[in-house]
Amino acid sequence: MIQWGIRLAFAWTLLLACVVVLPIIFVALASVIDPFWLGLAYDRSGGAAGFASLAYIWDVYGGWWWHSIRTALVVAALNVALAVPAAWTLVRRPFRGSRLLEDFVLVPLAVPGIAMAIALISAFGAWRGTWLVGAGHMLYTLPFLLNVLVIALRSGNLLRQDAVAASLGAGLCQRWRWIILPQLRGPLSAGLLLVVALSWGEFNVSYLLNSGATQTFPAALYDVFANDSLQRASAATVLFLGVLIPLVLSVQAINGRSDTIMQQGA
């Protein structure tokens, strides 16, 4: 009976995986093949074969693409600056209220995205722009990185090794360099890749907090989806997924079992 249960679950999961992948394959195809030949258009007005649409999107929105990459990298760097010392302190020297602080970091995940955007606008509306977008991304990515780091630091006997090294006279820098960082490398890099991926894909908050000519790439996607042809929309999506999918897959590859890192949901 268990055997049959597993088989059914496997078949169902396979089906879900196909449902996830199929639209992405069609988007990739439609970006380089005339939708007419795919049977997705009744005439040949809006399509072209080859890379014309990709080139067009790159010409118009390439700057936005780079802007988005830069934003994601800055967000990741700020994340490290805040999360690494905090995680270390929370694990190594817990204090009254430290659990409360850990829960407080998770709050942005429970608050609906649009409400968080309204809150940020109501407080800092005059400063709409890139930095406010970055602040929004920070709120949504910090819980993941902090969670990963805290779990990694608590697991195994990292703390004991650290205590032994300290008793042997190793300073904080030495311990980080030779004991903690080497063991933290996997979780930290998986967490950082996830931070970059989430920042790269975020639209709801960014779009409301943005102002100015150059915005993050998902805003460009909205522009194209609302105003342009199916093929150009596909091309823009391909340029978006071309960054995102490798990121998400490498998070999975590094982390193996993703549940510890992603169980909070985005």
């Binding site: 059914l8 679950a9 999961t13 396979l14 879900l16 449902v19 996830v20 992948v21 199929l22 639209p23 992405i24 988007v27 049977g39 600056a81 805040l82 010392p85 302190t89 020297r93 204090f95 602080l101 970091v105 942005p108 995940l109 429970a110 608050v111 609906p112 995205g113 649009i114 409400a115 968080m116 955007a117 809150a119 940020l120 109501s122 407080a123 602040a135 709120l139 902090l146 989430l198 975020e202 639209f203 709801n204 409301l208 998902p218 996607l221 989806f225 199916l230 999506t237 995102l244 998400v248 897959l249 999975q252 590859a253 079992r257 993703s258 549940d259 992603m262 169980q263 949901g265 985005a266």
Partner: protein
């Protein structure tokens, strides 16, 4: 004493950032929602009395509730498989199911147009193979939106459930079998109670995510389907911007999401206490 504080300086940047970017804005949203020139209660009364807003509130709750329940049940077999079997195949499957994790709603909306819009993949396939034309434009209906939302929730629901299922003690099942419990008995008295915390948490998380996202509907712009997050969006972007009204809506969404997640936590505690 001074040493105790000095050793904990590491949390200060995080604490400062959270106060400035999280606590203060949320507090400010509450203040803004009460700052309507016509009286502090007006935005909240509007939420109930303006038919458009009331409809939006209803359909937001309706949509998020059904989507959260549907996604949780839909992903349960997959999460169970991923939690129980650990090999290369399940690794690939997990990676695929996690892929839409960082997509935004607008991408999902566009994928829905691609697959079952006016001349989407599925309607065209049905038309050319079977001559059936009824599926055209399915994406722009309520059922299309529900399908798109369900797709959107696959990664969140699967990974949350998997994490929770890993914590289960499978030996309880064996114990029940040894004690002579039949298949139905085991399912209703062992499996279901064991699963309840996982299901409750997953429901809460997918519910909050569905409640706050507007990208899917922004792209599909289904006629007659009003959603509260979308109303917030329009309130901000169509002049004159009604900041108090938008803040009141945001506050309402926040309170609902927090309530649901607190209820889920209470349910989890209850069941953990009962075991």
């Amino acid at each position: 004493m001074r040493g105790a504080i000095a050793q904990r300086l590491g949390v200060l940047p995080l604490l400062a950032a959270l106060i400035a970017l999280l606590a203060y804005p949320l507090f400010n949203m509450g203040v803004t929602s009460l700052s309507s020139p016509e009286g502090w209660w007006v935005p909240f009364v509007n939420l109930w009395e303006v038919p458009r807003y009331r409809k939006a509130l209803y359909s937001s709750l309706f949509l998020s509730g059904w989507v959260a329940a549907g996604a949780t049940l839909m992903c349960l077999p997959s999460a169970w498989l991923l939690a129980r079997r650990e090999n290369r195949v399940t690794g690939v499957l997990r990676a695929v199911l996690a892929m839409p994790m960082a997509f935004s709603g607008i991408i999902v909306g566009f994928l829905a147009v691609m697959m079952f819009g006016r001349s989407g993949v599925i309607p065209r396939f049905l038309e050319t193979s079977f001559g059936y034309t009824g599926a055209s434009g399915l994406a722009y209906t309520l059922s299309g939106v529900i399908v798109a939302y369900l797709w959107f929730e696959i990664p969140r629901a699967t990974l949350t459930l998997e994490g929770a299922l890993r914590l289960l003690d499978i030996r309880m099942l064996d114990a029940a079998r040894t004690l002579g419990a039949g298949r139905t008995q085991r399912f209703f008295w062992v499996v279901l109670p064991m699963l309840t915390p996982a299901l409750a948490m997953t429901f809460a998380i997918t519910f909050a995510a569905a409640l706050g996202s507007f990208g899917v509907v922004l792209i599909l712009s289904v006629r007659r389907l009003f959603l509260l997050p979308l109303e917030v969006f329009y309130e901000l972007f169509t002049p004159p911007a009604g900041m108090p009204q938008a803040a009141a809506m945001g506050l309402t969404l926040t309170v609902i999401a927090v309530l649901v997640s607190v209820l889920a936590k209470v349910a989890v505690r209850r069941f953990e206490g009962a075991q």
